[in-house]
């Protein structure tokens, strides 16, 4: 099996699916000859031509609006938004149009658009190249939200997304785009949406994360293990619809939960997870569910290392739940 990083795995998934399904097209800023600023679509225009890999004018609302029209007509567009921070000009097209098309038409017009976009901090991008806006889309009925945490996951999840019939926001954790490497099968495989993954089994605390924070969580869990603390680690991977059962079952077993989220704390997805766990596992909880999150400030430039959750903080949060 070849070893790939996440960018290569995404590229591999796109290439594979474009070969398999002529309806799949890519559009976005700088996605053709340049292959995207992170090179995730590198080489695709050479193989599939400019009709299927389209450099667009600089307008995210145009990219998503056009992708919707294409999907209505029967294509399978996979638009790229250059950074998640630049998705907001397309926000209306996403939350008022894409998300509601099937519903508002009484099922007549599904719009299977898979929006790929790099997100998250840790690359010295300041607040316009670092945001983690997942909560905004999870709160929008009609969208699925998927976040891979390594190359194997990236390929298998992306293939699943393109093959199902609902709109998806596919958030790629750019901090680990190249840093996360692993074996990725050649050819076809899919990972089902809506199912979390137990990355590590443990008994005392359930640690829940997604995307690049999974790796941060694991750092903290490793430190905890050195202190003899046994943690179960869950990679949510599909944030909408999310896998309540796997998470709640784990917490019922461990009695404690820590959620690690990079986005600002208030009204983030961790709040939903915390509320859900408390609602469903209160009788099993031996301490309040803890959230370790980004602060409620815009993402900073120089101090990003102080802003983001890290392994030490994961450890101290784990300890806090144990000491409660």
């Amino acid at each position: 099996m070849p070893t790939m990083n996440i960018i290569q795995a995404v590229n591999d998934a796109l290439r594979l699916e474009m070969r398999r399904d002529p309806r799949v097209v890519i559009l976005g800023e700088d996605v053709a000859k340049f292959g995207g600023v992170f090179r995730a679509t590198s080489g695709l225009v050479d193989e599939f031509g400019p009709d299927r890999v389209m450099d667009t004018p600089l307008a995210e609302a145009g990219i998503i609006g056009a992708a919707i029209g294409m999907a209505l007509y029967g294509l399978r567009p996979v638009p790229e938004i250059q950074f998640a921070d630049f998705i907001f000009p397309a926000f209306d097209q996403i939350v008022n149009e894409l998300a509601k098309f099937r519903y508002r038409s009484g099922g007549q017009y599904p719009a299977p658009v898979v929006i790929r976009t790099p997100y998250g901090g840790g690359i010295r991008g300041g607040h316009y190249h670092s945001q983690s806006p997942e909560a905004l889309f999870i709160h929008t009925p009609g969208l699925k939200v998927v976040v891979p945490s390594d190359p194997y996951e990236a390929k298998g999840l992306l293939l699943s997304c393109i093959r199902q019939n609902d709109p998806v926001l596919f958030l790629e954790p750019k901090r680990i785009y190249r840093a996360s490497k692993g074996e990725v099968p050649e050819g076809d495989y899919t990972i089902p949406l809506g199912k979390a993954r137990v990355v590590r089994e443990g008994t005392q605390v359930t640690v829940i994360a997604w995307g690049s924070m999974l790796h941060t969580a694991l750092e903290g869990v490793d430190k905890a293990a050195e202190l003899g603390i046994s943690c179960e680690v869950i990679d949510l991977r599909t944030l909408m619809p999310f896998d309540v059962e796997t998470m709640v079952e784990s917490v019922k077993k461990t009695g404690r939960a820590v959620i690690v989220q990079e986005a600002p704390r208030t009204c983030g997805f961790a709040a939903e997870l915390s509320a859900t766990i408390s609602e469903r596992a209160m009788a099993w909880l031996e301490a309040p569910v803890e959230r370790l999150c980004g602060f409620d400030t815009p993402f900073p430039y120089t101090l990003e290392h102080e802003y983001m959750p890290n392994g030490d903080r994961v450890l101290s949060t784990i300890q806090k739940t144990l000491d409660w």
Partner: protein
């Protein structure tokens, strides 16, 4: 900018008296088709009147009339049934022309069990995928880049389908209009931008939307032809649309058509235009009435008679009554359906929410069944 302006650059085929204007040649349309076009114009007028009455009686929650603008709807007559329509909320004639049934239309207004969109949207937000009439959205302008995308897709797939997208002059102020038109120019997408300049966006007059001399002039910025058509002249609209479709199918890209017309009534049933515009303004519109003009033209061609008019109106009046009787008292959609179509399949959180709701005592709508 004044609506219904006399303007040299305004393309016309027939004048107010129904005479072919000097230098113009009516498009080559079979008599039966001319009569079908007129039929549809009358249908819109009659339907609008009846529905507005129902709204005023408190039976419909909301309604929007097209009076004065009906001719713009018939641009679709110059297209193939396989072409796609991206409507705004004010072009029911384009749907009737394509065979949208009165029963379905009325059921949509009631949002009841027979509503093709299952009571999901406010009145006048139709959707009919069986006639390529795309689901209507309230947010102004959002359909514009979507139409461009559909047209790009047709081109990519080597099909010669075109898209026509309808919007008001107010919509040209949105970012969506700009990005949709700009993409269309760049990708030479086979799409026709049909701007109904009816002079008003709710209470805002057209000259507050832009300082451009005409809306058609905006086409320059997108590298596409922009033409200004008398929007009350159904033949001029037909011709402009046919030309645009031909260009589009030939691979020459998009066209922007400004149809100069007039919004005779309020913006919607919730509006009271007397607050913001001269009550005499609509009266001046009378002479421009697209129905009267086309009627005179047809009369001269012996395709229209007062008897036919009478018959038509009676026919629609009765058809509306029949359709209304059939659907108006249907029950609302089943409560279970609230959770359908959010996704293709029901995920577990929605299944739980549905179960919870079904276990609650049913509540009555304060509005349903008056």
């Amino acid at each position: 900018m004044v609506a219904i302006a006399k303007n040299d650059e305004l393309k016309r085929v027939i004048d107010e008296e129904g005479n072919v204007v000097k230098g113009a040649r009516p498009p080559d349309i079979a008599d039966e088709e001319l009569r079908k076009i007129y039929r549809t114009l009358v249908q819109v007028r009659v339907v609008d009147e009846r529905m507005m009455r129902l709204q005023r009686q408190g039976r419909l929650g909301f309604y929007m009339q097209s009076t004065g603008e009906e001719a713009t709807h018939l641009a679709v007559a110059a297209l193939r049934p396989s072409d796609w329509v991206f409507p705004s909320y004010r072009e029911p004639g384009a749907a009737f022309y394509r065979g949208y049934e009165l029963e379905q239309f009325i059921a949509q207004l009631y949002g009841n069990a027979a509503d093709p969109i299952k009571g999901r949207q406010m009145p006048v937000h139709h959707s009919m995928n069986w006639i390529n009439y795309v689901s209507i959205s309230s947010p102004v302008g959002t359909q514009i880049p979507q139409a461009t995308g559909m047209a790009m897709a047709a081109k990519i797939q080597g099909k010669d389908d075109v898209a026509i997208v309808y919007f008001g002059e107010g919509a040209t102020s949105t970012g969506e209009f700009h990005v949709g038109a700009n993409f269309a120019g760049v990708f030479k997408a086979p799409v026709i931008f049909l701007c109904r300049n009816n002079g008003w966006a709710i209470s805002t007059s057209a000259d507050r939307q832009t300082a451009a001399k005409t809306f058609a002039s905006k086409a320059v910025g997108y590298g596409m032809p922009g033409i200004r058509v008398d929007g009350n002249d159904v033949l001029a609209l037909y011709q402009a649309t046919a030309d645009a479709a031909e260009r589009a199918r030939a691979g020459d890209g998009p066209t922007f058509i400004e149809a100069l017309t007039y919004r005779v009534h309020g913006h919607s049933s919730s509006d009271d235009p007397s607050v913001y515009r001269d009550p005499d303004e609509p009266k001046r519109w009378q002479q421009a009435d697209p129905l009267a003009r086309f009627q005179r033209y047809l009369g001269k061609k012996k395709l229209w008679t007062p008897e036919w008019e009478e018959a038509l109106r009676t026919e629609f009046d009765q058809a509306i009554t029949v359709a209304h009787d059939k659907v108006a008292n249907l029950p609302p959609p089943d409560v279970e359906t609230l959770f359908d179509d959010v996704f293709e399949e029901l995920p577990s959180h929605l299944r739980e929410q549905k179960e919870w709701l079904m276990a609650q005592p049913r509540t009555k709508s304060p509005h349903y069944f008056h």
